[in-house]
């Protein structure tokens, strides 16, 4: 099915199952421990041996010699994989560094060996006996020092490196009010609950990988390319995933090494990347340096806006596209955005929840706060004044498909009690706390991608959906079941959803908040095909027939789906392909974050007291799981604002705080009441679901609202994240 004209009224609009808050249908399996995760496939691959990854001790250089004798002689060791015995390996398109290093070393903790043994303890113990001589080379580890060597990165998900509209320099030069500030954001770790993990087994030349992965079809291709085998010979299974946030978009060392290890010893092998290895072995969100210039009139109406971004990655890697939102969020005829990419020899940078916007808004939305203050305009009002209903780079001929930023700001402000904010910073005291409020806009692009599904009815009238879509904790199982139930006119309990298997039709997968809208649209397409088949069997015209109560109905005639399906059942498969509506219309999701913080008058400890947000993201398929997504993302925004940072040791070239005791993310005590309001919106240009993504929107701008609240509380403006006690104290000393 092709989606190339705006949606009209369709079965989804009935809203009997879709749009109703539902508990996640996979919940009981998860809380009873019966949902199988990648490392626990005793059912499918009994007798698996254990692999332990040996990570490089240097960041850059070469392996001189490897001595495996002691490790091989250790108790229980079954085999050791290194580059010397792995055979010829390719590299996936989405991997920057090789998943198995050697002789060249590209980054610290890059996998250089897999030790396989009969128990985890034996494998881990023997891994320490692997002797490797390295010849280290000088690497580049300091973004600030390398910044001026940056070059325009190749275009990617974030569009071109640079964009230019009007004449920024001229507009900025003559602006009545000018903001010109620089901001930095650090490297961050995804820190999802479940580590990267894979169980691998070979049957002849056929490989099965039970792995924790967001993008099944991509990863089959990547694995095929890396192992140099045909993709048909690989089955990838990933039904349950304990979080990913982008870290599991591509295959990582666990998958490759489990496959190689299993081939070596002729027995299933499982590999998890140990928590302290994850930050340096896998991927992270790259650090940025950002400069923002805004020229406005005295009322705060923007005439010129520029956002320049510097980030770094390994050779061949990509940039953090932090200027993305600045291309679309606010008005102004004179515009400039640039991205520059420097070469760094740190571990590989890659996508983490809302790549681009998550850190871009940490800068832009603080700059807007600074502009509001410079103009003496309320920060909510300032954003409303600069709203634009079309793509401001392309002009009015490219309108937004739907854009309710103003509604989000107004309704969010009302619910939060924004009018109680004292615009003068440092005025409000509550005991030992200085109290302040901040606001920030939320913006995240709405991406769509081709997505397929197979749907069937059986003789009991039960509906089954199969697609290689993944559920990374987001609630895909539930919204897909809701979609199928709505389309087929059956209750939610009558639907079984099977996900995350490369034997199922290829979906859009989970990433870039495109999964929910795209994958349910794919299910919609398959369901339309099944409805046609059923109608034909019933002898009803498909466009007139109603599907409800397990029946197909026309006027006062009806037949049960179960009867029509018969003993064989009836199946249909289709996919949703998206035309150029996302070219003709700018498509994005919007919101407004509000935050109240307390800052200790003496110690500068920051405590978030309240958060609230209003969001417009098309049809909200399941308000319960959507709210969970948003509050989880707001929590991550608090982490980005206040504590998350992979600290770079620029001498050794690695992230020093590489475990969960040292890399801090918010705990429950950091997170207060979070209020989420979804603004009514249907986007008929996004898909027949009229939905958009919501999984990333909540992180976008959340941290900036925290930063702005700290300013309102204290009068100290901080521009280097995370905003820790030491930085607040230092700024107070200067102020």
């Amino acid at each position: 099915m092709k989606f190339d004209t705006p949606a009209t009224t369709n079965p989804i609009d009935r809203g009997r199952v879709i749009g109703i808050p539902h508990d996640r249908i996979d919940g009981p399996a998860k809380v009873t421990g019966t949902a199988p995760y990648a490392y626990e496939r005793h059912d499918a691959a009994p007798n698996a041996a254990y692999g332990w990854i040996v990570g490089s001790a240097i960041a850059k250089g070469r392996i001189g010699a490897i001595d495996l004798r002691a490790a091989e002689a250790a108790p229980g060791v079954l085999g050791i994989v290194t580059h010397q015995n792995a055979g010829p390996l390719g590299k996936g398109n989405f991997n920057t560094a090789h998943l198995l290093g050697g002789p060249q070393i590209e980054h610290y903790e890059q996998a250089v060996a897999l030790v396989i043994a009969d128990t985890l303890e034996n494998a881990r113990d023997a891994a320490r006996l692997v002797r490797i001589d390295y010849a280290p080379e000088q690497g580049r580890f300091d973004l600030a020092a390398e910044r001026d060597k940056g070059v325009p990165p190749p275009p990617g998900f974030g569009g071109p490196a640079d964009t230019k509209t009007g004449d920024f320099e001229a507009g900025f030069a003559k602006a009545a009010v000018k903001i010109d500030q620089s901001y930095t954001t650090p490297d961050q770790s995804h820190a999802m609950m479940e580590p990267h993990a894979t169980t691998a087994a070979w049957n002849g030349d056929k490989l099965t990988l039970w792995t924790s992965n967001q993008m099944i079809a991509w990863s089959v291709g990547e694995m095929a390319k890396t192992l140099k085998i045909p993709p048909e010979n690989i089955r990838l299974v990933s039904p349950y995933i304990g979080g990913g946030f982008g870290a599991k978009l591509w295959v990582r060392a666990d998958a490759l090494l489990a496959a190689l290890g299993s081939r070596m010893i002729g027995r299933p092998v499982k590999v998890a990347i140990a928590r302290p290895q994850i930050p340096n072995n896998t991927v992270h969100r790259p650090a940025t340096i950002q400069r923002i210039r805004i020229g406005a009139d005295k009322q705060g109406v923007i005439d010129a806006i520029a956002h320049e971004v510097w980030s770094g990655d390994l050779p061949g890697g990509g940039a953090e596209t932090a200027a993305q939102q600045t291309r679309l969020l606010y008005r102004g005829p004179n515009r400039l955005t640039t991205h520059r990419l420097s070469t760094l020899d740190l571990p590989e940078g890659n996508a983490m929840r809302a790549p681009g916007e998550a850190v871009g808004l940490l800068a832009l939305e603080v700059a807007m706060d600074e502009l509001a203050e410079a103009c003496g305009v309320d920060p909510v009002e300032l954003r409303i004044r600069n709203d634009v209903q079309y793509d401001p780079e392309a002009g009015p001929q490219r309108p937004f498909s739907s854009r309710k930023l103003i509604e989000c700001l107004r309704e969010g402000a009302e619910r939060f009690g924004w009018n109680r904010r004292n615009p003068k910073p440092g005025q409000v005291r509550d005991g030992r706390w200085l109290v302040g409020m901040g606001v920030a806009s939320a913006f995240r692009n709405n991406l769509v991608g081709k997505s397929g599904a197979r749907i069937g009815v059986d003789a009991e009238g039960h509906v089954i959906v199969e697609t290689d879509m993944t559920d990374i904790g987001t609630g895909s199982y539930t919204i897909i079941a809701q979609t199928a139930a709505e389309m087929m006119g059956v209750p939610l309990e009558a639907v079984t959803v099977r996900l995350g298997d490369s034997r199922f039709p290829v979906s859009a997968g989970s990433g870039g908040q495109w999964g929910a809208n795209s994958s349910t649209a794919g299910v919609y397409a398959a369901a339309m095909a099944l409805r046609a088949k059923l109608a034909e069997k019933a002898g009803f015209p498909a466009d007139k027939a109603l599907f409800e109560d397990g029946l197909i109905r026309l006027g006062n005639q009806s037949q049960p789906l179960a009867t029509l399906a018969g003993r064989e059942g009836l199946w249909a498969e289709d996919s949703m392909e998206f035309g150029d509506l996302d070219k003709r219309y700018a498509q994005a999701t919007f919101g407004a974050h509000f935050c109240e913080v307390g800052v200790d008058i003496d110690t500068a400890e920051v405590r978030v007291r309240r958060m609230g947000g209003a969001f417009a993201a098309g049809r909200i398929l399941n308000p319960k799981s959507a709210r969970s997504q948003v509050i989880g993302a707001m929590t991550m925004g608090v982490g980005a604002a206040l504590m998350e940072e992979l600290s770079v040791d620029t001498r050794f070239g690695f992230f020093v705080n590489h475990d969960m005791a040292e890399y801090l993310v918010p705990v429950h005590a950091d997170i207060p009441q979070q209020d989420v309001l979804f603004i009514d919106e249907l986007d008929d240009k996004s898909s027949p679901m009229k939905a958009k993504g919501v999984g990333e929107l909540g992180i976008c701008g959340a941290g900036a609202a925290v930063a702005n609240a700290i300013y309102n509380a204290t009068g100290v403006r901080l521009r280097d994240y995370p905003l820790t006690i030491d930085k607040i104290l230092a700024a107070q000393r200067v102020a």
Binding site: E121, P276, R432, D602, V656, D670, I725, A730
Partner: protein, 315 residues
Amino acid sequence: MRPFTYSRAASVEEAAKTAATQGARFIAGGTNLLDLMKLQIETPTHLIDVNHLGLDRIEPTAEGGLKIGAMVRNTDLAADKTVRRDYAVLSRALLAGASGQLRNKATTGGNLLQRTRCPYFYDTRMPCNKRQPGSGCGAIKGMSRSLAILGTSDACIAQHPSDMAVALRLLDAQVDAVGADGGRRSIPIADFHLLPGETPHIENALKPGELITSVTLPKPLGGTHVYRKVRDRASYAFALVSVAAVFGKDGRSRFAFGGIGAKPWRTDAADAAAPSGAAAVAEAALSGARPTAQNAFKQQLTARTLASLYRQKGA
């Protein structure tokens, strides 16, 4: 983790005797030791379980103090009625540490002996004089933000991470131990933890095999007990700076500090400065500080934390 043997000691004396043999270690709650064994930072060949020796009681002493068995769990100690009434600073310090689950396992003896959280100590590919004597210190010119500013040496600037030990230092506790020869002695807490000097791998005054049996507190001090821990998130993080204080009615007060010292930090000069206010106490306590560029803020933060305590005391 290297393979190891395991035994349960039948008595305190037997435990100490066995422990004096090469490669043997006690295991109490295991919350620190097992993590370090998995990373092969510690590689004992034999573990002696000392959880079943009746060292889990809290009893009054003839002198009017309190004897706390070495195996009393942090949770139980924090919740103990006498501790909450007479030594509230200890209860507060314990509750500021780790998480509920960890405190359920962690013991009084194990907590005193927990090892540093310096990140270079935890990565065995990095130089660290504490982990591997003579290999150098990765932290001094590296990521030192969380590390100590007082009592450090050119060999090591690791902080002592314990909250509990700061309160014990404030309360002038004694650490009671049994030696391999069966001899018993009590070590004043001030002398229990050692400064790194040239030998940062030697962290306390215990002799090989010596087993902590209890910690004894002197008579209650009275006064107002506070423990203030400042950290990068609201809970479940080690202190950047912590201050344990008892404010007496007579203006005489005492202070001990966590997060800033190579050991739980307390000075007579800081206590003596109490009547002159927070700034004077801070100045006295921080005398001789050797911060790095990254952790210099701890000086100001210590002063601010003291200021906060003085302010609240008035409230």
